[in-house]
Symmetry: C2
Subunit: 246 residues, 2 copies
Protein backbone atom coordinates (compact mmCIF):
# COMPACT_ATOMS: atom_id res chain seq x y z
CA UNK A 1 0.00 0.00 0.00
CA UNK A 2 1.51 3.38 -0.97
CA UNK A 3 1.77 6.01 1.74
CA UNK A 4 -0.88 8.70 1.30
CA UNK A 5 -0.64 12.30 2.47
CA UNK A 6 -3.68 14.00 4.03
CA UNK A 7 -4.72 17.59 4.71
CA UNK A 8 -7.45 17.85 7.36
CA UNK A 9 -9.38 20.98 8.37
CA UNK A 10 -10.94 21.12 11.82
CA UNK A 11 -12.62 23.60 14.19
CA UNK A 12 -12.45 23.42 17.96
CA UNK A 13 -13.37 25.19 21.17
CA UNK A 14 -10.15 25.34 23.15
CA UNK A 15 -11.57 25.93 26.65
CA UNK A 16 -11.11 22.33 27.84
CA UNK A 17 -7.65 21.72 26.35
CA UNK A 18 -4.04 22.58 27.08
CA UNK A 19 -3.53 23.99 23.61
CA UNK A 20 -3.18 22.17 20.33
CA UNK A 21 0.21 20.57 20.87
CA UNK A 22 0.68 17.05 22.18
CA UNK A 23 1.22 17.00 25.96
CA UNK A 24 2.60 14.41 28.32
CA UNK A 25 0.69 15.22 31.51
CA UNK A 26 -2.24 17.15 30.07
CA UNK A 27 -4.62 16.81 27.13
CA UNK A 28 -3.62 18.68 23.99
CA UNK A 29 -5.97 18.52 21.02
CA UNK A 30 -3.19 16.76 19.10
CA UNK A 31 -3.29 13.84 21.58
CA UNK A 32 -6.97 13.26 20.91
CA UNK A 33 -6.67 13.60 17.12
CA UNK A 34 -3.72 11.18 16.92
CA UNK A 35 -5.47 8.62 19.12
CA UNK A 36 -8.65 8.66 17.05
CA UNK A 37 -6.81 8.69 13.71
CA UNK A 38 -4.67 5.75 14.79
CA UNK A 39 -7.78 3.71 15.56
CA UNK A 40 -9.41 4.75 12.28
CA UNK A 41 -6.41 4.01 10.04
CA UNK A 42 -5.13 1.07 12.11
CA UNK A 43 -1.66 2.70 12.05
CA UNK A 44 0.20 4.79 14.61
CA UNK A 45 -0.38 8.26 13.15
CA UNK A 46 1.57 11.42 13.96
CA UNK A 47 0.18 14.71 12.73
CA UNK A 48 1.65 18.14 12.02
CA UNK A 49 -0.47 21.12 13.08
CA UNK A 50 -0.43 24.45 11.23
CA UNK A 51 0.28 26.27 14.48
CA UNK A 52 0.63 25.84 18.21
CA UNK A 53 -2.41 27.44 19.76
CA UNK A 54 -2.26 28.23 23.49
CA UNK A 55 -4.35 26.72 26.25
CA UNK A 56 -7.89 28.10 25.91
CA UNK A 57 -7.52 29.44 22.35
CA UNK A 58 -10.16 28.27 19.82
CA UNK A 59 -10.09 27.77 16.06
CA UNK A 60 -12.76 28.31 13.44
CA UNK A 61 -10.29 26.79 10.99
CA UNK A 62 -7.18 24.80 11.82
CA UNK A 63 -5.26 22.56 9.40
CA UNK A 64 -3.12 19.53 10.12
CA UNK A 65 -1.33 17.07 7.85
CA UNK A 66 -0.31 13.44 8.22
CA UNK A 67 0.91 10.45 6.27
CA UNK A 68 -0.53 6.95 6.46
CA UNK A 69 -0.65 3.85 4.31
CA UNK A 70 -4.34 3.11 4.75
CA UNK A 71 -7.36 2.39 2.56
CA UNK A 72 -9.98 4.58 4.23
CA UNK A 73 -11.56 7.28 2.03
CA UNK A 74 -11.35 10.98 2.90
CA UNK A 75 -15.09 10.99 3.53
CA UNK A 76 -14.59 8.00 5.82
CA UNK A 77 -12.06 9.97 7.82
CA UNK A 78 -14.46 12.93 8.20
CA UNK A 79 -17.36 10.71 9.30
CA UNK A 80 -15.28 8.41 11.46
CA UNK A 81 -13.51 11.25 13.23
CA UNK A 82 -16.70 13.22 13.82
CA UNK A 83 -18.39 10.26 15.44
CA UNK A 84 -15.32 9.53 17.61
CA UNK A 85 -14.26 13.05 18.63
CA UNK A 86 -15.58 15.01 21.61
CA UNK A 87 -18.29 17.55 20.77
CA UNK A 88 -15.91 20.52 21.05
CA UNK A 89 -13.76 19.31 18.12
CA UNK A 90 -15.24 18.92 14.62
CA UNK A 91 -13.63 17.76 11.36
CA UNK A 92 -14.78 20.08 8.55
CA UNK A 93 -12.86 18.59 5.64
CA UNK A 94 -10.27 15.99 4.63
CA UNK A 95 -8.48 15.77 1.30
CA UNK A 96 -5.43 14.04 -0.14
CA UNK A 97 -2.49 16.41 -0.60
CA UNK A 98 0.80 16.51 -2.48
CA UNK A 99 3.66 14.54 -0.90
CA UNK A 100 5.45 17.73 0.12
CA UNK A 101 2.43 19.38 1.74
CA UNK A 102 3.07 20.26 5.38
CA UNK A 103 0.41 22.03 7.46
CA UNK A 104 3.00 24.26 9.12
CA UNK A 105 5.74 24.80 6.54
CA UNK A 106 3.41 25.16 3.54
CA UNK A 107 1.36 27.83 5.32
CA UNK A 108 1.44 31.24 3.57
CA UNK A 109 -0.47 33.22 6.15
CA UNK A 110 -3.02 33.21 8.95
CA UNK A 111 -5.94 35.24 10.13
CA UNK A 112 -6.82 35.55 13.82
CA UNK A 113 -9.90 37.04 15.44
CA UNK A 114 -10.04 38.40 18.95
CA UNK A 115 -13.51 38.78 20.51
CA UNK A 116 -14.14 41.33 23.25
CA UNK A 117 -17.55 41.24 24.94
CA UNK A 118 -18.18 44.83 25.97
CA UNK A 119 -21.06 44.61 28.48
CA UNK A 120 -21.37 45.63 32.16
CA UNK A 121 -22.33 42.09 33.21
CA UNK A 122 -20.52 38.92 32.21
CA UNK A 123 -22.33 36.47 29.91
CA UNK A 124 -22.76 32.81 30.94
CA UNK A 125 -22.84 31.68 27.30
CA UNK A 126 -19.80 33.51 25.95
CA UNK A 127 -17.16 33.27 28.67
CA UNK A 128 -15.27 30.49 26.89
CA UNK A 129 -15.18 32.25 23.53
CA UNK A 130 -14.69 35.95 24.29
CA UNK A 131 -12.94 38.26 26.76
CA UNK A 132 -15.37 40.13 28.98
CA UNK A 133 -14.27 43.76 29.20
CA UNK A 134 -16.83 45.95 31.00
CA UNK A 135 -15.16 49.37 30.54
CA UNK A 136 -16.22 51.75 27.80
CA UNK A 137 -14.39 51.19 24.49
CA UNK A 138 -13.26 53.93 22.13
CA UNK A 139 -12.89 51.79 19.03
CA UNK A 140 -11.71 54.65 16.79
CA UNK A 141 -8.81 55.30 19.15
CA UNK A 142 -7.89 51.59 19.28
CA UNK A 143 -8.07 51.36 15.48
CA UNK A 144 -5.78 54.37 15.10
CA UNK A 145 -3.19 52.52 17.19
CA UNK A 146 -3.84 49.22 15.36
CA UNK A 147 -2.92 50.85 12.04
CA UNK A 148 0.71 51.09 13.23
CA UNK A 149 0.98 47.29 13.39
CA UNK A 150 0.19 46.89 9.69
CA UNK A 151 3.30 46.38 7.58
CA UNK A 152 6.64 44.62 8.02
CA UNK A 153 8.10 45.12 11.50
CA UNK A 154 10.33 43.51 14.10
CA UNK A 155 7.68 42.29 16.57
CA UNK A 156 10.05 41.39 19.44
CA UNK A 157 8.08 43.68 21.79
CA UNK A 158 5.00 41.61 20.99
CA UNK A 159 6.52 38.21 21.63
CA UNK A 160 5.81 36.25 24.82
CA UNK A 161 9.08 34.32 24.96
CA UNK A 162 12.29 35.97 26.06
CA UNK A 163 14.63 33.46 24.41
CA UNK A 164 13.53 34.26 20.88
CA UNK A 165 15.44 32.02 18.47
CA UNK A 166 13.60 32.78 15.25
CA UNK A 167 13.66 35.90 13.10
CA UNK A 168 11.19 38.29 14.80
CA UNK A 169 10.24 40.15 11.60
CA UNK A 170 6.68 39.57 10.44
CA UNK A 171 4.35 41.25 7.95
CA UNK A 172 0.90 42.13 9.27
CA UNK A 173 -1.64 42.59 6.45
CA UNK A 174 -4.63 43.73 8.49
CA UNK A 175 -5.28 44.80 12.07
CA UNK A 176 -8.70 46.30 12.61
CA UNK A 177 -11.58 46.14 15.07
CA UNK A 178 -15.30 46.19 14.33
CA UNK A 179 -18.28 46.38 16.64
CA UNK A 180 -21.44 44.28 16.24
CA UNK A 181 -23.78 45.10 19.11
CA UNK A 182 -21.94 44.34 22.36
CA UNK A 183 -19.20 42.33 20.65
CA UNK A 184 -16.00 43.87 19.34
CA UNK A 185 -13.96 41.72 17.00
CA UNK A 186 -10.36 42.49 16.03
CA UNK A 187 -9.17 40.81 12.85
CA UNK A 188 -5.40 40.37 12.53
CA UNK A 189 -3.87 38.70 9.49
CA UNK A 190 -0.30 38.27 8.32
CA UNK A 191 2.39 35.98 7.00
CA UNK A 192 3.26 34.62 10.43
CA UNK A 193 2.98 35.28 14.13
CA UNK A 194 5.31 35.09 17.11
CA UNK A 195 4.35 33.42 20.38
CA UNK A 196 1.41 35.34 21.99
CA UNK A 197 1.77 38.09 19.37
CA UNK A 198 -1.94 38.72 18.73
CA UNK A 199 -2.80 38.58 22.43
CA UNK A 200 -0.08 41.12 23.27
CA UNK A 201 -1.22 43.35 20.39
CA UNK A 202 -4.81 43.29 21.69
CA UNK A 203 -3.68 43.82 25.29
CA UNK A 204 -1.64 46.83 24.16
CA UNK A 205 -4.63 48.23 22.23
CA UNK A 206 -6.72 47.91 25.41
CA UNK A 207 -4.08 49.96 27.23
CA UNK A 208 -4.51 52.56 24.49
CA UNK A 209 -8.23 52.51 25.25
CA UNK A 210 -7.47 53.09 28.93
CA UNK A 211 -5.21 56.06 28.16
CA UNK A 212 -2.02 54.27 29.28
CA UNK A 213 -0.61 54.60 25.75
CA UNK A 214 -1.51 56.96 22.93
CA UNK A 215 -1.81 55.53 19.40
CA UNK A 216 1.37 57.38 18.53
CA UNK A 217 3.32 55.31 21.12
CA UNK A 218 3.07 52.21 18.91
CA UNK A 219 6.10 52.95 16.66
CA UNK A 220 8.25 53.53 19.75
CA UNK A 221 7.07 50.25 21.35
CA UNK A 222 7.96 48.38 18.14
CA UNK A 223 11.37 50.08 17.97
CA UNK A 224 12.28 49.28 21.58
CA UNK A 225 12.17 45.53 20.79
CA UNK A 226 11.40 44.80 24.43
CA UNK A 227 8.38 42.84 25.69
CA UNK A 228 8.22 45.13 28.74
CA UNK A 229 7.46 48.14 26.51
CA UNK A 230 4.12 46.71 25.32
CA UNK A 231 0.87 46.16 27.26
CA UNK A 232 -0.54 43.10 29.00
CA UNK A 233 -1.20 39.81 27.20
CA UNK A 234 -4.97 39.66 26.59
CA UNK A 235 -6.65 36.43 27.87
CA UNK A 236 -6.58 33.33 25.68
CA UNK A 237 -10.38 32.82 25.72
CA UNK A 238 -10.97 35.74 23.29
CA UNK A 239 -8.63 34.41 20.58
CA UNK A 240 -9.62 32.37 17.52
CA UNK A 241 -7.47 31.12 14.69
CA UNK A 242 -9.91 32.02 11.93
CA UNK A 243 -8.23 31.19 8.62
CA UNK A 244 -5.07 29.42 7.39
CA UNK A 245 -3.84 30.27 3.90
CA UNK A 246 -1.84 27.93 1.59
Amino acid sequence: MPTRRFKVTIAYKGAAYHGFQRQINAVGIQNILEDKLSVLTDKRVEIEGCSRTDKGVSANMFVFSFSADCRITCDGIVRGMNSALPMDIAVLDCEEAEDDFHARYSCKGKEYRYFILNTPCRNPFLYETSFHYPKEINLDLMNRAAEYFVGTHDFTSFCGTSNLKENPVRTVWECHGERTGDMICFTVSGDGFLYNMVRIMVGTLLWVNEGRFSPEDMPRILEEKDRRSAGKTAPACGLFLNKVMY
Copy 2:
Protein backbone atom coordinates in the same frame (compact mmCIF):
# COMPACT_ATOMS: atom_id res chain seq x y z
CA MET B 1 -33.78 43.21 61.71
CA PRO B 2 -36.99 42.87 59.66
CA THR B 3 -37.15 40.04 57.14
CA ARG B 4 -36.72 41.32 53.59
CA ARG B 5 -38.05 39.69 50.43
CA PHE B 6 -35.89 39.56 47.30
CA LYS B 7 -36.53 38.97 43.60
CA VAL B 8 -33.39 37.95 41.71
CA THR B 9 -32.99 37.56 37.95
CA ILE B 10 -30.25 35.29 36.62
CA ALA B 11 -29.08 33.70 33.35
CA TYR B 12 -27.30 30.38 33.10
CA LYS B 13 -25.93 27.80 30.71
CA GLY B 14 -27.41 24.52 31.87
CA ALA B 15 -24.96 22.08 30.23
CA ALA B 16 -23.00 21.33 33.41
CA TYR B 17 -25.96 21.05 35.80
CA HIS B 18 -28.66 18.56 36.70
CA GLY B 19 -31.40 21.13 36.18
CA PHE B 20 -32.36 24.05 38.35
CA GLN B 21 -33.81 22.19 41.29
CA ARG B 22 -31.84 21.31 44.40
CA GLN B 23 -30.40 17.78 44.21
CA ILE B 24 -29.03 15.41 46.83
CA ASN B 25 -26.47 13.44 44.78
CA ALA B 26 -25.94 15.84 41.89
CA VAL B 27 -25.47 19.57 41.41
CA GLY B 28 -28.61 21.56 40.70
CA ILE B 29 -28.22 25.29 40.07
CA GLN B 30 -30.32 25.88 43.19
CA ASN B 31 -27.66 24.17 45.36
CA ILE B 32 -25.02 26.60 44.17
CA LEU B 33 -27.22 29.69 44.50
CA GLU B 34 -28.32 28.77 48.04
CA ASP B 35 -24.75 28.05 49.14
CA LYS B 36 -23.41 31.35 47.82
CA LEU B 37 -26.40 33.39 49.13
CA SER B 38 -26.03 31.83 52.57
CA VAL B 39 -22.41 32.92 52.74
CA LEU B 40 -23.28 36.40 51.47
CA THR B 41 -26.22 37.02 53.85
CA ASP B 42 -24.74 35.03 56.73
CA LYS B 43 -28.10 33.19 57.01
CA ARG B 44 -29.21 29.80 55.77
CA VAL B 45 -31.19 30.85 52.67
CA GLU B 46 -33.75 28.78 50.78
CA ILE B 47 -34.87 30.07 47.42
CA GLU B 48 -37.96 29.51 45.25
CA GLY B 49 -37.33 29.20 41.50
CA CYS B 50 -39.84 30.32 38.86
CA SER B 51 -39.66 26.92 37.22
CA ARG B 52 -37.92 23.59 37.27
CA THR B 53 -35.73 23.46 34.23
CA ASP B 54 -34.43 20.04 33.13
CA LYS B 55 -30.84 18.85 33.07
CA GLY B 56 -29.07 20.65 30.22
CA VAL B 57 -31.70 23.39 29.70
CA SER B 58 -30.41 27.00 29.77
CA ALA B 59 -32.02 30.31 30.71
CA ASN B 60 -31.59 33.79 29.30
CA MET B 61 -33.86 34.92 32.14
CA PHE B 62 -34.77 32.99 35.25
CA VAL B 63 -36.26 34.49 38.42
CA PHE B 64 -36.04 33.25 41.99
CA SER B 65 -37.25 34.70 45.29
CA PHE B 66 -36.08 34.38 48.86
CA SER B 67 -36.47 35.90 52.31
CA ALA B 68 -33.64 36.90 54.61
CA ASP B 69 -33.08 39.26 57.52
CA CYS B 70 -29.83 40.75 56.33
CA ARG B 71 -28.33 44.19 55.76
CA ILE B 72 -26.67 43.68 52.39
CA THR B 73 -27.83 45.99 49.57
CA CYS B 74 -29.37 44.62 46.36
CA ASP B 75 -26.34 45.85 44.47
CA GLY B 76 -24.14 44.05 46.99
CA ILE B 77 -26.01 40.82 46.25
CA VAL B 78 -25.49 41.25 42.48
CA ARG B 79 -21.77 41.97 42.85
CA GLY B 80 -21.13 39.43 45.60
CA MET B 81 -22.94 36.66 43.75
CA ASN B 82 -21.26 37.41 40.43
CA SER B 83 -17.82 37.20 41.97
CA ALA B 84 -18.66 33.95 43.80
CA LEU B 85 -20.66 32.08 41.13
CA PRO B 86 -19.19 29.86 38.41
CA MET B 87 -18.84 31.53 35.01
CA ASP B 88 -21.89 29.74 33.55
CA ILE B 89 -24.29 31.43 36.01
CA ALA B 90 -24.69 35.23 36.10
CA VAL B 91 -26.88 37.45 38.30
CA LEU B 92 -28.51 40.10 36.09
CA ASP B 93 -30.61 41.91 38.68
CA CYS B 94 -31.74 41.91 42.31
CA GLU B 95 -34.56 43.98 43.81
CA GLU B 96 -36.64 43.99 46.96
CA ALA B 97 -40.15 42.67 46.37
CA GLU B 98 -43.53 42.69 48.13
CA ASP B 99 -43.92 40.23 51.02
CA ASP B 100 -46.27 38.06 48.98
CA PHE B 101 -44.08 37.87 45.87
CA HIS B 102 -43.21 34.28 44.96
CA ALA B 103 -41.11 33.53 41.86
CA ARG B 104 -43.27 30.53 40.98
CA TYR B 105 -46.79 31.38 42.16
CA SER B 106 -46.71 35.06 41.11
CA CYS B 107 -45.62 34.13 37.58
CA LYS B 108 -48.15 35.13 34.89
CA GLY B 109 -46.47 33.55 31.91
CA LYS B 110 -43.26 32.34 30.33
CA GLU B 111 -41.51 32.44 27.00
CA TYR B 112 -39.25 29.63 25.85
CA ARG B 113 -36.92 29.48 22.86
CA TYR B 114 -35.77 26.32 21.16
CA PHE B 115 -32.66 26.59 18.95
CA ILE B 116 -32.12 24.16 16.07
CA LEU B 117 -28.75 24.34 14.29
CA ASN B 118 -29.52 23.26 10.74
CA THR B 119 -26.09 22.50 9.21
CA PRO B 120 -24.58 19.33 7.71
CA CYS B 121 -21.67 19.36 10.19
CA ARG B 122 -21.92 19.79 13.93
CA ASN B 123 -20.56 22.96 15.49
CA PRO B 124 -17.97 22.79 18.33
CA PHE B 125 -19.13 26.14 19.74
CA LEU B 126 -22.90 25.60 19.79
CA TYR B 127 -23.42 22.01 20.90
CA GLU B 128 -24.33 23.01 24.45
CA THR B 129 -26.85 25.64 23.42
CA SER B 130 -28.62 24.24 20.34
CA PHE B 131 -29.83 20.97 18.88
CA HIS B 132 -27.86 19.95 15.80
CA TYR B 133 -30.31 18.73 13.15
CA PRO B 134 -28.62 18.09 9.77
CA LYS B 135 -31.72 17.22 7.68
CA GLU B 136 -33.40 19.81 5.48
CA ILE B 137 -36.06 21.86 7.28
CA ASN B 138 -39.35 22.98 5.75
CA LEU B 139 -40.08 25.78 8.18
CA ASP B 140 -43.39 26.77 6.56
CA LEU B 141 -44.68 23.24 7.09
CA MET B 142 -43.54 23.21 10.73
CA ASN B 143 -45.12 26.62 11.33
CA ARG B 144 -48.44 25.44 9.87
CA ALA B 145 -48.43 22.63 12.46
CA ALA B 146 -47.25 24.98 15.24
CA GLU B 147 -50.29 27.21 14.70
CA TYR B 148 -52.51 24.41 16.08
CA PHE B 149 -50.79 24.64 19.48
CA VAL B 150 -51.81 28.29 19.93
CA GLY B 151 -54.87 28.71 22.15
CA THR B 152 -56.26 26.95 25.22
CA HIS B 153 -55.89 23.16 25.03
CA ASP B 154 -55.51 20.07 27.16
CA PHE B 155 -51.78 19.36 26.62
CA THR B 156 -51.72 15.85 28.17
CA SER B 157 -50.24 14.44 24.93
CA PHE B 158 -47.36 16.90 25.35
CA CYS B 159 -46.55 16.08 28.95
CA GLY B 160 -43.56 13.93 29.88
CA THR B 161 -44.95 12.53 33.14
CA SER B 162 -47.57 9.79 33.10
CA ASN B 163 -48.90 10.45 36.60
CA LEU B 164 -50.17 13.93 35.84
CA LYS B 165 -51.62 15.40 39.03
CA GLU B 166 -52.20 18.97 37.90
CA ASN B 167 -54.78 20.39 35.49
CA PRO B 168 -53.29 19.77 32.02
CA VAL B 169 -55.05 22.73 30.36
CA ARG B 170 -52.70 25.53 29.30
CA THR B 171 -52.99 28.56 27.05
CA VAL B 172 -50.26 28.96 24.45
CA TRP B 173 -49.95 32.56 23.19
CA GLU B 174 -47.35 32.07 20.50
CA CYS B 175 -45.66 29.13 18.82
CA HIS B 176 -43.61 30.10 15.79
CA GLY B 177 -40.24 29.36 14.21
CA GLU B 178 -37.88 31.78 12.46
CA ARG B 179 -34.69 31.17 10.57
CA THR B 180 -31.55 33.34 10.92
CA GLY B 181 -28.83 31.86 8.72
CA ASP B 182 -28.27 28.27 9.83
CA MET B 183 -30.13 28.70 13.11
CA ILE B 184 -33.84 28.09 13.49
CA CYS B 185 -35.44 29.45 16.64
CA PHE B 186 -38.92 28.45 17.84
CA THR B 187 -40.51 30.87 20.29
CA VAL B 188 -43.22 29.39 22.52
CA SER B 189 -44.99 31.53 25.09
CA GLY B 190 -47.97 30.86 27.33
CA ASP B 191 -49.50 31.07 30.80
CA GLY B 192 -47.84 27.87 31.95
CA PHE B 193 -46.14 24.70 30.75
CA LEU B 194 -46.35 21.01 31.66
CA TYR B 195 -43.26 18.87 32.21
CA ASN B 196 -41.25 18.61 28.94
CA MET B 197 -44.09 20.34 27.06
CA VAL B 198 -41.98 22.59 24.82
CA ARG B 199 -39.50 19.81 24.02
CA ILE B 200 -42.31 17.43 23.03
CA MET B 201 -43.94 20.17 20.92
CA VAL B 202 -40.64 20.77 19.07
CA GLY B 203 -40.01 17.03 18.70
CA THR B 204 -43.48 16.64 17.22
CA LEU B 205 -42.89 19.54 14.81
CA LEU B 206 -39.67 17.83 13.67
CA TRP B 207 -41.71 14.71 12.92
CA VAL B 208 -43.98 16.93 10.82
CA ASN B 209 -40.84 18.07 8.98
CA GLU B 210 -39.91 14.43 8.37
CA GLY B 211 -43.38 13.61 7.01
CA ARG B 212 -44.30 11.36 9.92
CA PHE B 213 -47.19 13.70 10.78
CA SER B 214 -49.04 16.26 8.67
CA PRO B 215 -49.81 19.66 10.22
CA GLU B 216 -53.47 18.63 10.27
CA ASP B 217 -52.65 15.74 12.65
CA MET B 218 -52.03 18.20 15.50
CA PRO B 219 -55.70 18.59 16.61
CA ARG B 220 -56.07 14.80 16.74
CA ILE B 221 -52.86 14.43 18.80
CA LEU B 222 -54.15 17.03 21.28
CA GLU B 223 -57.56 15.30 21.47
CA GLU B 224 -56.11 11.85 22.13
CA LYS B 225 -54.61 13.10 25.44
CA ASP B 226 -51.94 10.41 25.24
CA ARG B 227 -48.18 11.04 25.31
CA ARG B 228 -47.69 8.16 22.85
CA SER B 229 -49.64 10.04 20.16
CA ALA B 230 -47.09 12.88 19.95
CA GLY B 231 -43.50 12.84 18.61
CA LYS B 232 -40.19 12.40 20.34
CA THR B 233 -38.98 14.74 23.10
CA ALA B 234 -36.42 17.11 21.52
CA PRO B 235 -33.04 17.24 23.33
CA ALA B 236 -32.65 19.53 26.35
CA CYS B 237 -29.61 21.38 24.94
CA GLY B 238 -31.76 23.36 22.45
CA LEU B 239 -34.12 24.78 25.08
CA PHE B 240 -33.88 28.19 26.76
CA LEU B 241 -36.21 29.78 29.26
CA ASN B 242 -36.19 33.23 27.66
CA LYS B 243 -38.61 35.40 29.64
CA VAL B 244 -40.66 35.20 32.84
CA MET B 245 -43.65 37.52 33.14
CA TYR B 246 -45.11 38.88 36.42
